[in-house]
Symmetry: C2
Subunit: 364 residues, 2 copies
Amino acid sequence: KQPVKLLVLPGDGIGPEVVREVGRIIAWLEKKRGLTFELTEDLVGGASLAEYGVPIRDEVIEKAWAADAVLFGSVGDPKWGHVSFDKRPEVAILKLRQELGLFANLRPAKVFDALVDSSTLKPDVVRGLDIMIVRETVGGIYFGDPRGIETLPDGSKRGINTEVYTTSEIQRVARVAFDLARKRDNRVCSVEKCNVMESGLLWKEVVTDVHAREFPDVTLSHMLADNCAMQLVRNPRQFDVLVTGNLFGDILSDLASMLTGSLGMLPSATLGAEQADGRRPALYEPIHGSAPDIAGQGIANPIAQILSFAMLLRYSLNLQTEADMIEQAVSNVLASGLRTADIMAEGMARVGTSVMGEAIVREL
Amino acid sequence: KQPVKLLVLPGDGIGPEVVREVGRIIAWLEKKRGLTFELTEDLVGGASLAEYGVPIRDEVIEKAWAADAVLFGSVGDPKWGHVSFDKRPEVAILKLRQELGLFANLRPAKVFDALVDSSTLKPDVVRGLDIMIVRETVGGIYFGDPRGIETLPDGSKRGINTEVYTTSEIQRVARVAFDLARKRDNRVCSVEKCNVMESGLLWKEVVTDVHAREFPDVTLSHMLADNCAMQLVRNPRQFDVLVTGNLFGDILSDLASMLTGSLGMLPSATLGAEQADGRRPALYEPIHGSAPDIAGQGIANPIAQILSFAMLLRYSLNLQTEADMIEQAVSNVLASGLRTADIMAEGMARVGTSVMGEAIVREL
Ligand SMILES: CC(C)[C@H](C(=O)O)[C@@H](O)C(=O)O
Ligand SMILES: CC(C)[C@H](C(=O)O)[C@@H](O)C(=O)O
């Protein structure tokens, strides 16, 4: 049996310390589940800037192509606030998405029963919440041309970005959303600003068309992005799967995550297109950022990173049982009362990063 | 003394019935406060489409220029879902903003003590919330060229919109935000996606520059739009004034309104530039839409429309006392237990649109 080839990119801030906890899970999988992993680790973000002067090297992109999946930590470091636009740490993740064609970002926003009180929303509004946001990640205003800042004759400036979406870009991400819906509550809500933007009008038309031709059994609705932001606050449980463009997805998925009250718990997967050889590039990362303020203190919550790894097992390796086991272990450890600082509540036991990681492996 | 010239545009759905309640306040101002009003009423949105085949006539724009201020209801009607992109009811408000140069949309998100429980957020998180969002409304991706949907050689399509911001567009809206902050808690948070968009990078630079030169006494911070959406849910009271572009402002201000739990309570003002003759075009409208589902039933909440009129008195006519009186009357009526259906709660007295309007005038 071939070993699973993983590229591990811990990145900046708390990235390295939470990725370390995944190491324990991998060791357990090798020992108890007969799997073998071949890990390659490299630098991205501020860590790569410090060593190589660029946020990501072409070599790392090549390694990502060669791997079965990429496990990503987080990038971003205030130390690098002064670098030029094309050198900022965020370029690492943007370039990985674009070069590997990782077009479908899956962001579950799920409330764990044990943590329902950590939301700023009333427990009755968020209990049992389970939304999946599918965000397009290689198109839209993030990557459209023309872009840049130009100086006008009078010395003043003009900043430009372009939102572009084509039929095929919309089709492929819509298909991912409809497919996922079939395994869930069979409902998709497509989000755009078709009342203001023609790119949103095309978005709506193409999603409607894919639905009618290929997924008539799924219930489809449409919503304007501003209304969606409101509805996520008013009654988030009305949603099952949401599908939207890069920019709206960025904002709405962060909003949805915050409804759960526990950002340190939320994983994500970003999937590319199936290649000729049947492989599909994919990257897994927590929703949370690099949290430089608490980095290096051993207090970060490793659960989002561990659940990202569970998504990797599920989507890239088709190891459903192992993914379920890890998710269940996380649930049990929370139910047993263990909490990292970010989700600490009265009467619970406060633990650091590695005690939490150990507890999850012990539970396994 | 010259009469105050108002253009009244009730629009669609519940627009006409809530605007009618402002009529009572105007009658009271004429009778008790010695003011005189000259009202002109016209059609916009679906109502104008039905009568004239366009969402707004040039004649209405001219009337808006001639007036001291515009009182706007709401536009939008599912009946007109099939019309072409340039005829949709929303064009009425977009065209008014652009033709009158109404670049600064002021959207307060305020929690009334009497309504703190109607938020889906915990009372402890939103009690006393008082944010002012200043949204740019004549630039950005709403109006940038090129835009449209083109057909590619293979028959597939490409939707395009362009985000453009110039130094002077950013400067003028930043000044409005800093000015407002000085009358409030003296803090401005500027919101963009400078880590992904160059137009956001220019936004941040220009706001920083206006701050340093003209408003060094105000506290300025910067935040990414995705993080802002999270922070509005996590701890909304951290904000005083927010300033942002057209698209982010659309989403974040709707999100912020929903935190209050009572959309039917929230007014807005959209201000243009001071003209050579000292006048300043301005439009006042509630945050809520035309709510076609409850239109014509006499149950809509008229408070947002009445408070929009109070903003009109404050910003266009400099009638601070009268504006304060109206706002106080609304507070008192709520404290006395009267509620329209949208804000109904146990133990309160449920009333319709006109009883609520009458009660506010009686309180005055
Ligand atoms: C780091 C940044 C470029 C990125 C984005 O805006 O896509 C992040 O916010 C995300 O959502 O993954
Ligand atoms: C009606 C629509 C065009 C408008 C907008 O997107 O600006 C509305 O949502 C608003 O916020 O005033």
